[in-house]
Amino acid sequence: MNSGVFYRPPPSVIDKLGELNLLLLIALCALTGLGLAALYSVAGGSWSPWAERHALRFVIGLAMLIVVAVVPLRFWLQLAYPAYAVALIALLLVPFVGSEALGARRWLPLGPLTIQPSEMMKVALVMALAKYFHSLSANRISHPLWLLVPVAMIAVPMALILKQPDLGTAMMVGMLGSSMLLMAGVHLLYFAGGLASLFIGIPLAVPFLHDYQRRRIEVFLDPASDPLGAGYHITQSKIAMGSGGVTGKGFLSGTQGQLDFLPEKHTDFIFTTIAEEWGFVGSMAVLILIGVLLAILLGMALGTASRAGRLMICGTMVSIFLYAAINVGMVSGALPVVGIPLPFVSYGGTAMLTLMFSLGLSMCAWVHRNDPLAPDPVSLS
């Protein structure tokens, strides 16, 4: 199909480095900087044990992002199905060889490391859906038969994660997948139908929830019912945030975080410390910074020629949005407590690397934005 396109020499790595979206990198550094300051503060004004390692992980992640970005997009697309298959097999293995913690099996031992296959799946799903829709002609996208494949690609891992049990991640995978379908151009009527069946389905699903899941929902509706257990986190978190007021108590001066009232204060509840020490101003700054990051990504998606590239960027954007929205919703008591970190701010290696890799893919799509990427001659049919 290249007959009509005039020849252009393939861009070198240096050329590609010049094409990196600097705005995105700046926003990323700013967000991580906020996270570092918060981690420094919750450690009682100390780089160790969290801030220094967080910084190190960020630097490693950034290097990975850039490497991923300059590799040809075609390579990542070729990797999409194998990556999806590996993630799916890992998910299937979890019930058999996974390590159990707190009544759920979510981790796979891999030599000295333990990996969380559901995290792998979040990236692999984005890649695989992008690849799938890329190789589909436009008039087939909304065809019910052709739609069956991506729906299965979303539903199977969802079901596996649900069985672990990890309701929060399963829902996140579901939302991520459906927004990819939306961006791929699937007819809106499908979404209307999906939403309608959800509203009917949820009341029917409640009896099948695990005890701890039902408990979390109950506690979410009434935190005071369990002041020491799950409700403790929400209550303490809200006290810390509220007492921060508009301008906060000042850096290193958050009494709630410093005095150890907060649980998981360096991981899932890091936003609380920011809200306490820097007040409403600080917490809005975090939200706005993430919003800017999302807006940059959306702009990148709009400027990308290939369907695969656009979908990959959108997938990353929706991932980050979901992480951020669920985390902030959780610590402010607007959503039930599920263990989801605040991207680039919370301490934790897995989420940082996963997100950096996703951003690398998006950056790769952006770097190759003018390459229309003709679909493989061999289509799925």
Binding site: S46, G333, P372
Partner: protein, 653 residues
């Protein structure tokens, strides 16, 4: 509407417009989501800020979990084995202390803190979050606590508290059984809140781990107000923690003491005695012994050396082996030591063969000292051969060729299935952890573990308890108890409550005639001429014993040499399993002496000594409860029947 031939991914104008529309839709959706969150934050941080500030700043409500007191562990007759000791301790919170050196200097005028200890605390403070307390000193007197609290304004960041500490009694004797407690490794939301308390301990091994849920109890809560510096203003409400339940174990401390002392004469050995009626473990010991009172910091229960020594010995051929030191002592050989059962496994083979119908009691198999299968020959331990043996004689004289042949006839699956029915290759809910499941090999197991197909010769070897089969002494005792009673005996370390009936075990479902034939053969092993287990006999006490010896080969070299000419670690393991009285079984025992040599020569006499002690100390001769039941909250001195200083002395009757 793109044309079929046009590459779909090249943006048609329509598609690009559609994408843009949806991108705006998604963007708006996200903006809406963030808008809602922003509004939520506005409500908490701006509108309700005053209310939350009150909660946080003026009088902060602090909800603190209270650790429950851990249940005690007692012996069969009420002797305390693990209790708790209240200790007063003082710690420092760096964030509140300001100048650490000054604060510690002042504190050491009340409680002497050596200079190097102070340096340790200061160094620690730099490595950890400043708001976590650091323990400075424990075992304070009430006077010191009172002085510290009086001087509180001049001692910022210094906190005092009482803390309950685990104390072990008779620990040299029951160390392996009771196990120990250790720090909580990881905890998260949804866990018992008590586990978040700094310094709280959970069971790491033995009964402490096996009965953790019962021993731990339920945490309480105290809600209190603290001032801006984190000091307690007043307690508002308090829910007391629910103390963990005491556990009465089935161990008889005197009996156990005797056994530990006896085993300490062997380099490495383990023995178990269980009551076959209730499955109660009366004594269970492992040598070298281990004392949890020594408070080893992070004792990993290591599988110290591969007990199937073959591979290891080969690689060690070059160097002199040094006596393995402490970590080895932590290892409870009775529950986790895995040994090839050797000829004791013939109980399984015999019963399996009879049940499978591949042999009848009258059939004789001719033993000429070797057995040949697929051009490979397998030796009987008796080079000269036993001649024509029926089951009774083959068991009595432990003829290998007979069991090779019946194993060949029935095949590995029937053999493995009987092994599992007799309690091998599995763990039990025995109130003690960890237990090793051991190995009852099957072709499926081998494919999964080693990746190769099963060989016929391996069935032959399994028939005499060599090859891949691995069992722990506890499992061997269970196997014996099941063979003795025909019941699916499950071992336990937890004594049933006095007013409750003992558990009724299900029948194994083995044909009674077959079971009785095996039992007759086991009696012959000990009591008839030519039996390998003659040295376990208690006929002098008027009690008939039934049993089986085992000598499991560890090194290939041992086949051709006298045991005494071999290095210790190449010698055979000596095993004996048995039960008595033979006509109405009461106790089953298993004894393993690592690299001890012949089972009949080494393990059988050891087992006899153990059984004779069991006869002497049968609880039927003692009252069921100690005369003075321990007080509800005993101090260690006052508890139970004996003081810890008895530990070191011998317990020989």
């Amino acid at each position: 509407m793109s044309d079929e031939r046009q590459p779909a991914a090249i943006l048609a104008g329509d598609e690009r417009r559609a994408f843009s529309r949806r991108a705006v839709l998604l963007g708006l959706g996200q903006a809406l989501g963030f808008g809602v969150l922003g509004a939520r934050l506005y409500q908490i941080q701006v509108l309700d800020a005053g209310r939350y500030s009150l909660l946080a700043d003026d009088n902060r409500l602090n909800v603190i979990p209270l650790a429950p007191t851990r249940g005690r562990i007692l012996d069969r007759f009420g002797v305390a084995l693990a209790t708790n000791d209240e200790t007063l301790r003082v710690s420092i919170v760096p964030a509140l202390a300001g100048n650490m050196d000054l604060a510690l200097e002042r504190l050491s005028q009340i409680v002497p803190v050596p200079a190097d200890e102070r340096a340790r605390v200061v160094a620690r403070a730099k490595r950890q979050p400043a708001n976590l307390p650091i323990l400075v000193a424990s075992d304070l007197t009430w006077d010191q606590i009172a002085t510290i609290n009086l001087m509180a304004p001049e001692l910022p960041g210094i906190e005092t508290e009482t803390f309950s500490r685990r104390v072990y009694h008779h620990s040299k004797i029951v160390g392996h059984v009771i196990g120990h407690v250790g720090a909580v490794e990881r905890f998260a939301m949804g866990d018992d809140p008590a586990l978040r308390i700094p310094g709280v301990r959970i069971g790491r091994a033995g009964v402490e781990r096996g009965m953790e849920q019962t021993l731990r109890g339920q945490s309480g809560i105290v809600r209190r107000e603290v001032d801006a510096r984190g000091r307690i203003v007043r307690n508002i409400a308090r829910t007391e923690p629910l103390q963990g339940s005491d556990i009465a174990t089935t161990i008889d401390v005197d009996m156990q003491g005797w056994l530990v002392e006896r085993l300490s004469r062997e380099r490495r050995a383990a023995a178990v005695a269980i009551d076959v009626i209730g499955g109660e473990i009366v004594a269970m010991a492992s040598s070298p012994g281990y004392d949890p009172a020594l408070n080893t910091p992070q004792p990993p229960p290591p599988p110290p050396e591969p007990l199937r020594g073959r591979r290891r010995n080969r690689s060690l051929r070059t160097g002199q082996r040094v006596e393995v030191a402490k970590p080895d002592a932590l290892f409870n050989r009775a529950t986790s030591g895995l040994y090839p059962p050797g000829s004791t496994f013939k109980i399984v083979t015999a019963l399996a063969a009879l049940e499978a119908g591949v042999i009848d009691l009258r059939e004789r198999i001719d033993c000429q000292g070797t057995f040949t299968l697929a051009d490979k020959s397998y030796r009987c331990w008796n080079r000269g051969g036993h001649g024509r043996c029926d089951l009774h004689r083959a068991m009595r004289e432990s003829c290998d060729v007979y069991f090779y042949e019946v194993a060949r006839r029935m095949g590995i699956e029937a053999l493995a299935s009987m092994g599992r029915r007799l309690g091998l290759g599995q763990t039990y809910q025995a109130g003690i952890a960890p237990l090793s499941p051991g190995v009852i090999p099957t072709p499926t197991w081998k494919r999964g573990k080693i990746g190769r197909p099963w060989l016929g010769g391996e069935t032959i070897l399994t028939g005499i308890g060599q090859g891949y089969v691995l069992t722990s002494p506890l499992q061997l005792a269970v196997m014996t108890a099941r063979a003795a009673t025909g019941n699916a005996v499950v071992p336990t370390l937890v004594r049933p409550e006095l007013d409750k009936a003992r558990p009724q075990f299900a029948r194994l479902g083995v044909n009674d005639r077959n079971l009785q034939a095996v039992q007759r053969a086991l009696r012959a092993v000990v009591n008839e001429g030519g039996g390998t287990g003659a040295r376990a006999s208690m006929s002098d006490l008027g009690i008939e014993v039934a049993g089986k010896t085992g000598t499991s080969q560890v090194s290939r070299r041992s086949a051709n040499r006298y045991q005494t000419s071999l290095r210790w670690e190449e010698r055979d393991h000596a095993l004996f399993v048995g039960y008595f009285p033979a006509n109405a079984p009461r106790y089953a025992v298993a004894a393993v002496v690592e690299h001890g040599g012949g089972g009949g020569a080494v393990a059988a006499p050891l087992a006899r000594e153990l059984m004779a002690e069991l006869v002497q100390r049968d609880p039927m001769r003692k009252p069921a409860i100690s005369v003075s039941p321990p007080a509800p909250r005993p101090s260690p001195e006052a508890s139970g029947g004996g003081s810890p200083d008895r530990d070191g002395k011998g317990h020989k009757a």
